[in-house]
């Protein structure tokens, strides 16, 4: 197993390198960061020229990638445009642990910007994922054990409706209903946007209250899909011979369902969840935007639209690294859950 893990980690190095190269080229080709620095007016030509030079955006793309990768503290930069390099570079590069400085929040380390948002994203996404998994299992098992009953049919119908809904629709409708209309009708209502009410302060109860609608929106879409998956896995599992054997040897139905059927039915789920977890780091772009939740998804959108390569590359590389690691962990967990699987 350890040889397998080492081999997978070594394979990840060229993979991450290729990912970074492709993403960097795509990012730099997708727009000019200086073009949007003029605010509502078109950027003045003199300023555009000066900023491109000062920020190193006038260099060929391979030089920019090299600086991003290994830094530029070994080179000198021409800051005043007289053709003579006059100032040593100060970037250390990703390989030396520095993602670079943001082009938007000038001078601020990209890592610091990402790190400010990461806890908020995890605060929202982890409870959401727990709710999704928990309710998917409950609804899926409940539905599987009552196949083709009225309850199963109702759940199936609701699931398909939920699965077909775009999340922005669910988010806006729930905000309109539970916040605007409930308040209008004099009912207990939920807040519309943000992490807390400034008049009441950033207390745990305020943050929890502001998490309700975003989690509800995300969960209602995801539960619909996941519960169908759990249902079909459970149906397949409980028709297996070993379930019949378990019942035949006199085990209680609870033991059969939770100890035999669920454990085996959850194996494919582990793969899906394993792939989901690293993506949690990227946040939920639509949900965070609608509910003004200060997470990674919004950070990504805000900075990609302004061509902030250091921050965007930082977010993408963190997610890429997390995908590699969590895929490996999933494979290891899979072997632990299913003793028949061996890695050589």
């Amino acid at each position: 197993m350890s040889r397998y893990v080492i081999r997978r980690l070594l394979q990840a190095i060229p993979l991450l390198f290729i990912i970074s190269l492709v993403l960097f080229v795509l990012m730099r080709a997708s727009g000019d960061p200086v073009a949007t620095m003029g605010g509502r007016r078109v950027m003045r030509p003199e300023d555009r020229q000066r900023l491109a030079r000062q920020l190193g955006l006038d260099k060929p793309i391979y030089t920019q990638y090299l600086y991003w990768l290994i830094g530029n503290d070994w080179a000198t930069i021409d800051t005043d445009g007289d053709g003579e390099p006059d100032m040593p570079g100060d970037r250390r590069g990703v390989l030396r642990g520095e993602l670079g400085k943001s082009l938007v929040s000038r001078g601020k380390e990209a890592w610091d910007i990402i790190w400010e948002r990461l806890p908020n994203t995890l605060l929202l996404m982890i409870p959401a994922e727990i709710v999704i998994i928990l309710f998917s299992l409950i609804v899926g098992i409940f539905s599987a054990l009552r196949q083709y009953t009225l309850a199963d049919n109702v759940i199936t119908a609701i699931s398909f409706i939920g699965y077909s809904m775009p999340i922005f629709f669910v988010a806006l409708i729930s905000m309109y209903l539970f916040s605007v209309k409930f308040k209008e009708w004099g009912l207990p209502f939920l807040p519309t946007v943000g992490m807390f009410d400034p008049k009441l302060g950033k207390t745990p109860s305020q943050v929890a209250l502001h998490m309700v609608l975003p989690i509800f929106s995300m969960a209602s879409i995801s539960i619909a899909g996941y519960s169908r998956y759990v249902r079909s896995q459970m149906l397949e599992t409980i028709s297996q011979d070993y379930i019949r054997t378990a019942r035949a040897k006199g085990l209680s139905e609870r033991a059969v369902i939770s100890g035999h059927a669920l454990k085996n039915a959850s194996l494919p789920l582990v793969t899906i969840i394993g792939l989901d977890i690293p993506l949690l780091l990227g946040g939920a772009i639509v949900t965070e935007t609608i509910f003004a939740w200060p997470g990674m998804g919004r950070l990504f959108v805000d900075h990609v639209s302004r061509g902030d390569t250091p921050v965007v590359m930082g977010i993408l590389m963190i997610i890429a690294l997390a995908v590699v690691i969590f895929q490996l962990l999933t494979d290891i967990l899979y072997a632990w859950l299913d003793p028949r699987i061996r890695y050589e």
Partner: protein, 614 residues
């Protein structure tokens, strides 16, 4: 229900019972979880602040009537004062409630130092925590803030040749930490903007100066190489605190990474910056050292709400007191929800910029076609239908300035006249010779033009509407849209606007508002391989170029106005720019916020007077 092959009826029934038990338990668990969740939400929602009832022990002097036995012949009733401890239940009166105003901000500022940001959502915050040398009122007229008066030739502040401007500072101006604001702060600000080690977003208009000098603690002298008529509009939109930033510059050789840029805890506005949580909020509290007194509202809280629909919901629900730029379609909903939409001219107008460079389509280069287009567009219908009548079609880019003072009185507005447009095209040889609905020029080339803009929804709607209008007079308009960073990229980046890939470009723009100066149409600004940064995406008209250069050096305001009027007339006749709608700032004001007024340049110039009424 799964029916297992080979199972006996008894086993099957037992299993069925067990499955039902398990199902019921799951249903029960599910129900409990749902009820608990709803209960938690209800409790949390109901948990708003009520006056807190507390039991406390207080020592107080009370007047009490007691019977006192004295060595007298009779018992008398006497009133005496005694001090005793009593336990009483009191309703704690909460401390006077802070008046907190919440502003929904759809874009998060990138920097709080104005020299590092051109973002509108960032620069307009300056009047909250910072200060300009002079600000602008609701008529967009300048009034002094840090100065004793606005320099002019009449008061001796501007020299006869217009190259020296002398500013006298007030005696009482201080930074929020109590340090006086002096002429040295102005000189330091100029030096930082011009320093090549600082990546400021723009050196305009400071690069027009030959120097800034502090002749004494209260006097700043600006010297220009040549007269610069537009100085009042753009200089000193903030001053940097030298005592905070100079040590940073001396240590790092640049102020790019100064903490003050993102956390300006020392400012000079009515409010102090307190904190900025990325993506979430920004908070300001009263500045106790503000020299003009104290504002009515105690705290201002900026909530970053990137989604327009969410902003609308937050304003209607009362979660925000102020918003900006609502989607036009939301205006009736907001007004029905008791929220006011206020409009303030800020010099911007949405318009079509025509490309008449050599690479443009022959039709776009022909003034007759451009005039026919101006006659074919029902611009008032666009304003009333697409923009719900909140805007009007301007004739020139100078319409929103100074009540139209710079617009030539000789201009006859382009009125909607499709028949006239058709006749104009016919008379000039544009006929539909193959009966496909599209006219051809004298060489048989179809009259096809390309229109490009950014992906803003209202612009794309306008593209679709105007495409139909032009089709009616036999002009085929191909429409395209790009992200702003692609559309406004440079010649070197292959931007469609710079390269001239489109014949008509649409966006909202202004002059150097509130000044009438503009540089887009200067011939020296044409982009090329040698000068890839050029901003003239339109063409070179040497007469126009001469007028633009002439007006910038004119000291006599009346004479300058006449030149600007000639510019407007010439551009209108040649249809170099065609106004579609004026684009004022739109503010959404919630019912709690009172006494609100705005300026188009410094929107929060009266924030001291704003108030909250519950």
């Amino acid at each position: 229900m799964v029916i297992f092959a080979g199972a006996s009826p008894a086993t099957y029934n037992a299993r069925k019972d067990m499955e039902e038990i398990v199902s019921r338990k799951i249903a029960k668990t599910l129900s409990i979880l749902v009820v608990l969740a709803m209960l938690a939400v209800s409790l949390a929602a109901c948990g708003t602040a009520e006056p807190e009832v507390v039991v406390e022990t207080v020592v107080e002097t009370v007047i009490e009537t007691v019977e006192v036995e004295k060595e007298v012949e009779k018992t008398v009733v006497e009133t005496v004062e005694v001090e005793k401890e009593v336990e009483k239940v009191v309703t704690a009166t909460p401390a006077p409630t802070n008046k907190i105003a919440t502003f929904a901000w759809t874009q998060e500022p990138d920097s709080m130092n104005w020299v590092y940001s051109n973002m509108w959502f960032s620069s307009i915050l300056q009047q909250i925590f910072h200060c300009w040398a002079w600000e602008f009122d609701s008529d967009n007229a300048a009034f002094p803030r840090l100065l004793t008066e606005i320099p002019s030739m009449a008061n001796g502040g501007v020299s006869e040749d217009g190259t020296v401007v002398t500013m006298n500072l007030r005696d009482d101006i201080v930074w929020s930490d109590g340090t006086p604001i002096t002429a040295d702060d102005f000189v330091f600000t100029y030096e930082m903007i011009m320093d090549p080690n600082n990546t400021v977003v723009s050196q305009y208009p400071y690069d027009a100066l030959s120097g800034v000098e502090a002749t004494d603690e209260r006097t700043v002298v600006m010297t220009f190489a040549e007269p610069f008529a537009a100085w009042e509009a753009w200089f000193w939109r903030g001053v940097m605190p030298k005592h905070i930033l100079e040590p940073v510059y001396e240590a790092e050789g640049s102020i790019d990474e100064a903490e003050w840029n993102l956390a300006p805890t020392v400012g000079c506005g009515p409010y102090d910056f307190v904190e900025w949580e990325s993506g979430s909020y920004m908070r300001f509290v009263k500045n106790p050292n503000y020299w003009l007194g104290q504002p009515n509202i105690d705290e201002i809280y900026l909530q970053f709400v990137p989604d327009d629909a969410s902003q609308t919901a937050a304003l209607i629900a009362g979660d925000a007191d102020l918003g900006t730029f609502p989607p036009i379609s939301d205006v009736p909903i907001l007004e029905a929800g008791g929220v006011e939409v206020m409009v303030q001219s800020s010099g911007y107008a949405e318009g079509w910029f025509f490309n008449f460079r050599d690479m443009a389509s022959p039709g776009a280069q022909d003034v007759v076609v451009r005039q026919a287009i101006a006659m074919a567009l029902d611009r008032e219908a666009i304003n009333s239908d697409l923009l719900l009548g909140l805007t009007h079609a301007p004739e020139t880019l100078w319409d929103p300035l100074a009540g139209g003072m710079y617009v030539s009185p000789d201009i006859v507005p382009w009125s909607y006249d499709p028949e006239g447009a058709k006749a104009l095209l016919e008379d000039n040889g544009y006929v539909d010779s193959d009966n496909d609905g599209i006219r051809e020029d004298k060489d048989g080339n179809p009259l096809t033009l390309t229109h490009g803009t950014t992906i803003r929804e209202i612009r794309q709607d306008n593209q679709a509407v105007t495409q139909q209008m032009l089709r009616e007079i036999g002009i085929d308009m191909q429409i395209q849209s790009w992200d702003a960073d692609l559309f406004f990229g440079s010649w070197a980046d292959g931007s469609p606007a710079a390269l001239g890939d489109v014949d008509i470009m649409e966006w909202s723009d202004s002059t150097a508002f509130p000044d009438p100066d503009h540089y887009y149409w200067l011939c020296s600004e044409l982009p090329s391989d040698e000068y890839p940064w050029g901003a003239n995406y339109f063409g070179c008209d040497e007469y126009l170029d001469g007028l633009f250069q002439e007006q910038l050096g004119m000291l006599d305001p009346d004479a300058r106005t006449e030149v600007i009027r000639e510019i407007t007339k010439h551009m209108h006749e040649n249809v170099y720019w065609l106004g579609i709608w004026d684009d004022p700032d739109m503010w959404i004001v919630g019912p709690r916020l009172t006494n609100v007024s705005f300026s188009g340049v410094t929107p929060f110039y009266t924030i001291m007077e704003w108030d909250i009424v519950e």
